[in-house]
Amino acid sequence: MKTKNILMMALSLSLVAVITVGGTLAYFTASAKPKQNVFTTGNVDIDLVDQAYPIDGSSWDISEQQTPSGGYEYTNVIPGDIIGKKVGVSLKSGSADCYIAIKVELSSTVDGLDMSNIITQLQTTVVDSNKWQYLYDAQDANTIVFYSQTALSAANESMQLFDRFQVPTTWGNEVVNNRFDMTVSAAAVQVVALDPPALKTDGTPNDALQELLNAFEGETSGSTEGSDTSEGTEPSGDETVEPEAPVTGNE
C-alpha cells in the first residue's frame, strides 16, 4: 500500500508588504528600540526632631544659644523640674518607608550621678509603650535605644518619642554648679525585604534592628544608597519578525 505521504508543503510565508511609492518590496520588519531599563535606587532619609519649649511656672530657662550640635541649653534647672523637650523623628520628603530607632544617652559632670530615674521614666511613663519598644543594657546604664515596629511612611510621616521628662527629685545639693546632658540620635532602615525590628527568640536583634543599631554608629546626617544609579539593558523585548529574504507571495 502506498503510504500515504503527507505532502508537506513547505511552509511558505508570504508576506506582502505594500510599500509606498517606488514599490520596492522591502522586508517587512518590525522592531522596537532597544529598551533600557534604568534601576535607580531610592533613598531612606530622616530628620531627628529635637525641640525645647517653656513650661509655665517653671524656674528654668531655655538659652537662646543652641549647643554646637544643634541641641538646647537649659539653665537654672533644679531637681523636680518638668522639662519641656520634644524628641522624635520625621521622614524626609522623597524617602522610602523606613523603620526607625532613637537613642538617648545621659551623662553628667557629677561623678556617678544616678540616671536610672530618668531611664525608668522613659521606659514606663513618658514614652508610649504601644508605639515604642526599647533595648536597655544595665552594663551601659546611661543609654537606651527605642525602636518602633510601625514604619515611617507617607501616611505616618513623623513619630514622637516623648515631649517632657522630670529632673529626678532624688538628686540633691550635689548637682548645684553642675550639669547633665541628654544626647539624642535617630536611625532608619528600609522597610522593603525586612521584618519590623525586634529581638529574636534568642534575645539578639533581628536584621532590621541590627541595621538600625549599626546606623547609629555613623551618626552623621545623611543616607546611604545601596548602589549608584545603574542601567539595565535588554535586547528588543518586543516581537520581532524578520524574514531574512524578500518574499513575495500572494495568497
Partner: protein, 214 residues
C-alpha cells in the same frame, strides 16, 4: 491550497539588570544626630550651696529677774524664772538663695515652756505663713536673693507655765527651733514642707534651756 501558516517567532524577553560594578547590595539606612542638650543646674556659691539659711539670736534682755546666758546649744539659758513669766526670746532667720525657695521654721515647745504664737508676725508684707496640716511650722517664700537676706524674728516671746503646772524641783526644759530651706520649683508650700520634714532632723536647732527659779 497552501496553508497559510503563520510563523511566529517565539518571543524572548531577556532582562539583564546591571548592578553597580563591584557594589555589594546593602539595606538602605540613614541616621541623624547626635544632638546634645545640656541642662545646667542652678549656680550656687563656691561651696556648691544653692540655699543657705542661718538661725541666730541676739542676747535677750530680761523681763524680770531672770539671768540669761549662752547655753552652748546655739541658744540661751534662762535661770531664776517664775511661773507664768513671759520671757524675751527672738530667734532670727537669714537666707541666701540662688534659686526661689521656701524657708521653713519649725518650733517644738518644751513641756513647761512654749513660744508665744501671738508674737509671730502673720499679717502684712513681712508675714510668716502657716502650712495646712502642720502646726508650729511657719514659712516665707523668697526669690533669688542678692546676698544674705534677713527674714526677721520668728517669734519674740516664750511663756512659762503657771505654778500649778510646774514641777517642784529644778528642771531644764527646751524650746527647740529648727530651720530648713527647699528650692521652690513648682512645689506647693505643703509639698515643700514635707520635703523640709526630712531635712529638719539634721539640724541642731536653737534651743533655750529654761531653769525655773527655786
Amino acid at each position: 491550497m497552501k496553508k497559510k501558516n503563520v510563523l511566529t517567532m517565539a518571543m524572548s524577553l531577556a532582562l539583564v539588570g546591571v548592578i553597580a560594578v563591584g557594589g555589594t547590595m546593602a539595606y538602605l539606612t540613614a541616621s541623624d544626630g547626635a544632638v546634645v542638650n545640656t541642662f545646667e543646674f542652678v549656680q550656687g556659691d563656691e561651696d556648691g550651696n544653692a540655699i543657705t539659711v542661718t538661725l541666730s539670736e541676739a542676747q535677750p534682755t530680761a523681763t524680770g529677774s531672770e539671768s540669761i546666758t549662752s547655753n552652748g546649744k546655739n541658744g540661751y539659758l534662762y535661770e531664776n524664772i517664775v511661773p507664768g513669766q513671759s520671757l524675751n526670746k527672738a530667734p532670727e532667720v537669714t537666707v541666701t538663695a540662688y534659686t526661689p525657695s521656701y524657708v521653713f521654721v519649725k518650733i517644738t515647745d518644751g513641756e513647761y515652756v512654749s513660744y508665744d504664737p501671738t508674737t509671730v508676725v502673720t499679717t502684712g508684707a513681712d508675714a510668716w505663713k502657716t502650712v495646712d496640716g502642720y502646726s508650729d511650722v511657719y514659712y516665707k517664700e523668697v526669690g533669688v536673693t542678692s546676698g544674705e537676706k534677713d527674714l526677721g524674728a520668728i517669734f519674740t516671746k516664750v511663756k512659762v507655765k503657771d505654778m500649778n503646772q510646774l514641777p517642784t524641783e529644778e528642771v531644764t526644759d527646751e524650746v527647740q527651733i529648727q530651720v530648713a530651706a527647699v528650692a521652690k520649683g513648682d512645689l506647693t508650700a505643703k509639698a515643700a514642707a514635707e520635703v523640709a520634714e526630712g531635712i529638719y532632723q539634721d539640724w541642731q536647732g536653737n534651743t533655750a534651756s529654761i531653769v525655773p527659779a527655786d
